[in-house]
């Protein structure tokens, strides 16, 4: 498998705090990578660096042989990296289908020629397809702020898919969900994998990732402390120590 994303020795500090102390990892094309670690380890910070929300103070991030660590988020999205958020961020007063359409309009926002064109039938079709993929097509005209958390998480995935990504970063997609909703998310992630997407999932409960991912990378206090299969990582003493005081690792 070829490498699609490479993070090289990325450092990021906020004021006096070093959130990332030199993190490196690689993601192979079509791989599902788990990124775990206790709260505050720097997982979301790393996602934000990859997605262009933060720019690393040192180090590089390379996507398909192109450096992206200095690009703004909308450019990173256009290149093919999509992400979801730990706390869902829907466009609250817009309908579900409009939420997805916003992201579909990606290519139209560049330049000025297409800005005044209206979304066409093809765009609506594509949006509907994406909603079908996550099981929200029946609610397409509902205002998104009326949705349940599980539905909102699925909407975020649909919106992320709308930018036509090769990589999708999922930030704690299971957070706040009840057991029966978890299964739906797992199914969705497996479907994304089948479609050939490369995925990084941040999750601080390893249990949920066990069946989904082939490889796990562990972050603690801004440093990578372990790497391997879910089983290997679960029994790694350094990992167990890092989680001490938190919810049980498995």
């Amino acid at each position: 498998m070829s490498t699609i994303l490479e993070v090289r020795n990325v450092k990021k500090r906020f004021g006096g705090i070093e959130a990332l102390k030199g993190v490196s990892l690689t993601l192979s094309r079509g791989e599902i990578l788990g990124l775990i670690g206790p709260n505050g380890a720097g997982k979301t910070t790393l996602f934000n660096c990859i997605a262009g929300v933060y720019h690393p103070d040192e180090g590089e991030i390379i996507f398909k042989n192109q450096r992206i660590d200095k690009l703004p988020p909308h450019r990173v999205a256009k290149l093919g990296i999509a992400r979801t958020f730990q706390i869902v961020r829907p466009f609250k007063t817009l309908s579900i289908i409009d939420n997805v359409l916003v992201a579909l309009g990606l290519t139209n926002y560049i330049g000025y020629r297409n800005l005044f064109k209206k979304p066409g039938a093809k765009d609506f079709e594509k949006a509907l397809d994406l909603l079908k993929a996550v099981g929200l097509d029946s609610k397409k005209d509902e205002i998104s702020q009326n949705l349940s958390l599980g539905e909102l998480r699925r909407l975020e995935v649909a919106r992320a898919l709308a930018v036509n990504p090769e990589i999708i970063l999922l930030d704690e997609p299971y957070a706040g969900l009840r057991r029966h909703e978890e299964g739906r998310i797992s199914e969705m992630i497996k479907e994304l994998h089948r479609r050939g997407l490369s995925i990084i999932i941040v999750e601080h409960r390893v249990r949920l990732l066990m069946e989904l991912v082939e490889r796990v990378v562990v972050l603690d206090m801004g440093e990578l402390i372990a790497e391997g299969s879910p089983d290997e990582v679960k029994s790694n003493p350094r990992v167990i120590k890092a989680y001490l005081g938190e919810e049980e690792v498995a």
Binding site: P72, H74, A77, A82, R89, L94, D98, G105, L115
Partner: protein, 288 residues
């Protein structure tokens, strides 16, 4: 008759103003408390170009629109750096500064303002009041069409995404900075149109016409009507233009009534009369 035509012209100009502010505040969600500044820039540009260069309304109008749009882009830049509350204060500041420039800088006529602004004419024939009213109506319709076009096109989606959540918008491919500036450019361009119409209608303008109270009035129009909607902008403009006339008998109490109405609306009907979320609107459409 002339009285009614004049009122209609005012309603038209105010509608264009309301629609223009709606792009910035309603669609893009940027707080702008100084919109009268753009109105004034449009008016003064048009007035000065016509009087100092001796050209007709038909030349000064498009130039005024362009100038206002350019200034709008520049004055919209602070919205990229500061957010919400700071933007509110900044736009108030912009209003006062622009007004002060008009008032104290000789080039703009100072305290005397600009007079002798030519009424529109075609082929040497001065427009009648009715003709001006018709022209205003046409421009109003054009503005509504532009606003509707923005609302339903890709740029509208982008602006609304910026309004709802800048981070999510950015991750979905929306260049937040570009769209914020675009909102100001489009909003101020339309305000410039309104300003030019005003200048050539009144034939005399001073800095006092474009102060903070007017900015609040324009804002009130769209909030009372229903923010983010074209129909709301029209209703708000209609109400706020007619109100001073209706309340003339109250004379001394007019401002107090206006202020109390503002408070009551914000307290009890902040979605506006016919905004998307308004109870009134929902009842009209049989949904509530």
């Amino acid at each position: 008759m002339n009285y009614y035509l004049t009122i209609l012209i005012y309603i038209g100009i105010n509608s264009i103003l309301a629609l223009s502010l709606n792009i910035i505040v309603g669609y893009a969600g940027q707080i702008s408390l100084g919109h009268a500044a753009f109105y004034g820039i449009g008016a003064y540009s048009s007035a000065l170009i016509a009087t100092k260069l001796g050209v007709s309304f038909w030349v000064s109008l498009p130039l005024a629109i362009i100038i206002t749009a350019v200034v709008g882009a520049i004055l919209g830049l602070p919205s990229l750096r500061v957010s919400e509350d700071f933007l509110a204060i900044t736009t108030i500041g912009i209003n006062f500064v622009v007004q002060a420039v008009f008032k104290y800088v000789k080039f703009f006529g100072g305290a005397l303002g600009v007079s002798g602004i030519p009424f529109p004419s075609i082929g040497g024939h001065r427009f009648s009041l009715a003709a001006f009213a018709l022209m205003t109506a046409i421009f109003t319709v054009i503005s509504a069409v532009v606003a509707h076009l923005i609302n339903t096109s890709w740029i509208g989606l982008g602006l609304k995404a910026v309004r709802e959540d800048e981070l999510a918008a950015s991750s979905s491919g929306v260049n937040v900075y570009k769209f914020k500036v675009l909102a100001f450019v489009l909003g101020s361009a339309l305000a410039g149109l309104a300003g030019s119409l005003y200048a050539h209608f009144m034939m005399f303008i001073t800095a006092d016409d474009f102060g903070f109270p007017l900015s609040i009035a324009i804002l009130s129009m769209i909030v009372i009507g229903g923010i983010g909607t074209v129909r709301g902008a029209f209703l708000g403009a209609l109400l706020l233009t007619i109100m001073p006339e209706l309340f003339r008998p109250l004379s001394d109490y007019r401002m107090l009534v206006y202020a109390i109405l503002l408070i009551l609306f914000m307290r009890f009907l902040p979605e506006g009369l016919i905004g998307d979320e308004s109870i009134v609107w929902k009842k009209i459409r049989g949904k509530a």
